[in-house]
């Protein structure tokens, strides 16, 4: 665990592995629910880091985090959000070729994996879902689309993402979902928040 001050009142915590980020984030949220870190305004997990904003004493918080015993793996419990997915995306053939399988097999493989929201970013409600193995990593498109349709289920690297609204994007589109990913009038507005477990259901 490495600590980097971010200005006078934020702290960036860097970890060696994405799973360690999930574990520490779950522990921070568990303790926040019990009143820890009352001055914190934002806790932002990312690929290898967690940003704590609104920290009153950077050294004290770094010292506390270092002393915590963090569960080695995120407990495999909690609710699962099921995402119905029609696997007929514009880049399905490209992904099938990269994986050296048929298009139907892409759907079978992708809907067979247990995912978890590693972090959100890029747009409100856009979740980076981890779960695919390194051997299934795909590159971004060399030329990003100017408008990706909302509900597009897409791959980049080992992440799966779902576009909450129409936006430019360079991820490989493998499918589409009718699930409402983001609704500012709903509580909570994001269907997928960090730590949420996700399962895709093939409705092609």
């Amino acid at each position: 665990m490495r600590f980097f001050p971010v200005g006078a009142s934020a702290l960036l915590v860097e970890l060696d592995h994405p799973d360690a980020v999930l574990g520490l984030h779950a522990e921070i949220e568990r303790r926040r629910a019990q009143g820890w870190g009352p001055s914190l305004t934002d806790v932002v997990p990312a690929a290898r880091t967690i940003l704590l904003d609104g920290v009153a004493d950077l050294d004290a918080v770094a010292g506390e985090l270092s002393g915590w015993v963090i569960p080695a793996a995120v407990p495999p419990d909690g609710p699962i959000v099921e995402i119905p997915c029609s696997y007929a995306g514009a880049d399905l053939a490209t992904v099938a070729a990269l994986w050296r399988v048929s298009e139907a097999e892409v759907a079978r493989i992708h809907s067979g994996v247990a995912y978890r929201v590693a972090f959100c970013g890029f747009a409100p409600g856009f979740a980076y879902l981890s779960g695919l193995g390194e051997e299934l990593a795909v590159p971004r498109r060399t030329s990003p689309r100017t408008a990706v349709p909302p509900g597009s289920v897409a791959l980049a690297s080992t992440y799966t993402g779902i576009y909450p609204r129409s936006s430019p994007g360079g991820w490989q589109l493998i499918g589409h979902t009718e699930a409402k990913i983001w609704d500012p009038d709903r509580q909570p507005p994001a269907l997928l928040s960090p730590g949420t477990r996700v399962k895709f259901v093939d409705v092609t």
Binding site: F4, P5, V6, G7, A8, A10, L12, T41, D42, V43, V44, P45, A46, A47, R48, T49, I50, L51, D53, L58, F119, C120, G121, F122, A123, P124, G125, F126, R165, P184, P188, P189, A190, S193, P194
Partner: protein, 298 residues
């Protein structure tokens, strides 16, 4: 009791949005903070008209806005303009910045082109009662949350006045400068700077580019050298983060910044400098002054 008053937008200006204190606390869902770019000017405008400090106001960009108090049956309201220095007229009569102004039904408040600075804040007693999204009335130009920028003829409802206007004639304010000195704390990724890059960051003078907006100030200047680190996985960003682009260019992120980014943040501007950043017009000179940890002003 008269019905609540309504403001009619006679001239929307280049980019005028409703802003309050924004949406902190949702960055983990990818929701930008948003909110008034010049927080001190926002609070002052509200205090002058008797509003709570974080009530929704209008934030203009360079060429102001013209507003008419349109509801004939409504009582008069109090308005105040802070932030950038600009001519302010009520029905053609000069009234000035930083003053509470009584505005009667039918009168037009016109905020002209800024002579120093970029953004004026127009507060009206009662505040602008536009729909609140995720706890804020702010327009977020990165994600599209909140009300879109004002358009001509648009009607803006006002809330009920919260308290009496300030009993002062004029509030002192500082005139935005053509050269801003920003106190920064180096890091979190200052290790990605080459030795020459660190010297450039802290020694050179940069210039604000016209492509700057509420998301960030883009700076022109000598390229800031980077040591070879490969690729940085995306990580969380704060308001004031100074990001180093692969080209050697710099961006200072402002309120509508993305919640995460994949280029190294080499320094962070002290919040006391946010107002100066908000008022930095294209061509403004910028220099960075690193302060050791623990010495930044509160």
């Amino acid at each position: 009791m008269p019905g609540s008053a309504t403001i009619r937008v006679d001239r929307p200006g280049a980019l005028t949005t409703v802003q309050d204190a924004g949406r902190p606390g949702l960055a983990h869902l990818g929701v930008p903070r948003a909110g008034a770019l010049d927080p001190a000017a926002h609070r002052l405008a509200n205090r002058l008209v008797g509003n709570p400090a974080t009530a929704p106001v209008l934030e203009t960009t360079l060429d102001g806005v013209a507003l008419k108090l349109s509801e004939p049956s409504a009582a008069a309201v109090t308005a105040a303009v802070t932030g950038a220095v600009a001519p302010v007229r009520l029905d053609g009569r000069a009234v000035g910045c930083g003053v509470p102004v009584l505005m009667r039904p039918g009168q037009v408040l016109d905020v002209g082109r800024a002579s120093a600075g970029v953004r004026c804040y127009v507060a009206v007693s009662g505040g602008f009662a536009v729909p609140v999204v995720l706890g804020s009335a702010s327009a977020d130009l990165l994600s599209g949350l909140g009300s879109p920028p004002l358009s001509a003829g648009q009607l803006l409802p006002l809330g009920p006045p919260a308290g009496p206007p300030a009993v002062i004639d004029v509030a002192p304010y500082s005139i935005p400068s053509g050269h801003i000195d920003l106190r920064v704390q180096l890091g979190p990724r200052d290790g990605w700077l080459s030795a020459a890059g660190l010297a450039t960051l802290t020694g050179a003078t940069f210039s604000v580019m016209p492509a700057s907006n509420r998301i960030g100030l883009r700076l022109q200047g000598p390229p800031v050298g980077q040591s070879d680190h490969g690729e940085l996985p995306s990580e969380g960003i704060v308001w004031g983060a100074v990001q180093l682009l692969p080209s050697g260019g710099l961006v200072i992120f402002l309120a509508d910044h993305p919640t995460t980014g994949g280029y190294p943040v080499v320094a962070v501007v002290d919040p006391a400098g946010f107002g100066a950043c908000a008022q930095a017009a294209p061509g403004t000179a910028v220099s960075f002054h690193p302060v050791p940890r623990g010495q930044a002003p509160a």
